[in-house]
């Protein structure tokens, strides 16, 4: 099975900016949402997503096609998101960030009655250990296979199965207790 993004990435690696722009447009929304939910800050996520795409562009000529392009891009994004979290300090309360946002603005606008439930879910999500949160987001939002998630997180498929089981169990516990 051929990877539909491989041609674009190869062209981008040879300096084709139109191909690169198409690649960015294809991945900008999923990447931005993944990073924002992972680190809990949409503003930092935008900066991180830009940095991810620049890294993709720089590394494109060296891409060896050992994995799918999407997996490779998400692996760069995951590493970048971890760097952002490290930069901010690993013990910062992500829930606080989600609640307060920057300059009083909510990181995700949540109008109406459903906002409280969504807020509970986001808070619960932010309380998950980072690797469980990443696994859950990649599975539920991006619908990636366990093999792909394993490649992105740099762990075994069995570990992904365990991470997802614990992520769902913890999420359920946190939501139930609120």
């Amino acid at each position: 099975m051929t990877d539909p993004d491989l041609k674009l990435l190869r062209a981008a690696g040879q300096g084709d900016f139109q191909a690169f722009e198409l690649l960015v447009k294809r991945y900008q929304a999923p990447l931005l949402n993944f990073i924002a939910r992972y680190i809990g800050d949409r503003f930092l996520a935008e900066e991180a997503a830009q940095e991810v795409f620049l890294k993709v562009f720089r590394a494109a000529p060296r891409f060896e096609a050992k994995s799918k392009v999407s997996t490779w891009i998400f692996r760069i994004a995951y590493n970048q998101a971890m760097t952002e979290i490290d930069r901010r300090g690993r013990h910062r309360d992500l829930c606080q960030t989600l609640s307060n946002g920057r300059e009083g603005e909510e990181p995700f606008s949540m109008p109406g009655e459903v906002s409280e439930l969504r807020h509970d879910v986001m808070s619960a999500l932010s309380r998950l250990p980072e690797n469980q949160r990443a696994a859950l987001l990649l599975r539920v939002n991006e619908e990636l296979s366990y093999r792909e998630i394993a490649d992105i997180l740099g762990v075994s498929v069995e570990s992904v199965e365990s991470l997802l089981f614990r992520a769902r169990t913890n999420l359920k516990k946190y939501v139930d207790h609120r």
Partner: protein
Amino acid sequence: MDCSLVKRNLSAFIDKELDDTKSGIVQQHLETCPECRDHLHEFGALDGLVHGLPKIDPAPDFASMVVRSAMSASSYSKATPLLSRMKTAADRISDFVFTLFEGEARLSTRALDEFDDCPPLSMSFAYFKLLKGVKGY
């Protein structure tokens, strides 16, 4: 398979990542166990909530902004000779060191009549100011 083992496999069952044999056993168990069925539905509902969280839309010019950054990074590294890049880097470092000692405000706002205090410092200040003027900052 007992309930605790089934519950442990429910996550992979939802994701259709169990092999056929395990999946069949879990499916069979679910048909007769309301507790595990509830558990399965709860996992499914949570997935739905996570999936349904509000999405962020990238800024309309996000892609073009990224491409512009890539272009400038690419043209800078390809078209600029190594010596020139080293000179630019050295200029930036000297600027940085200078601002550390003098401060940006002094660099941009001090009047010429302030030069008559201490010759060595004034000389260096004037030198850098002239240098910056020549470079067109």
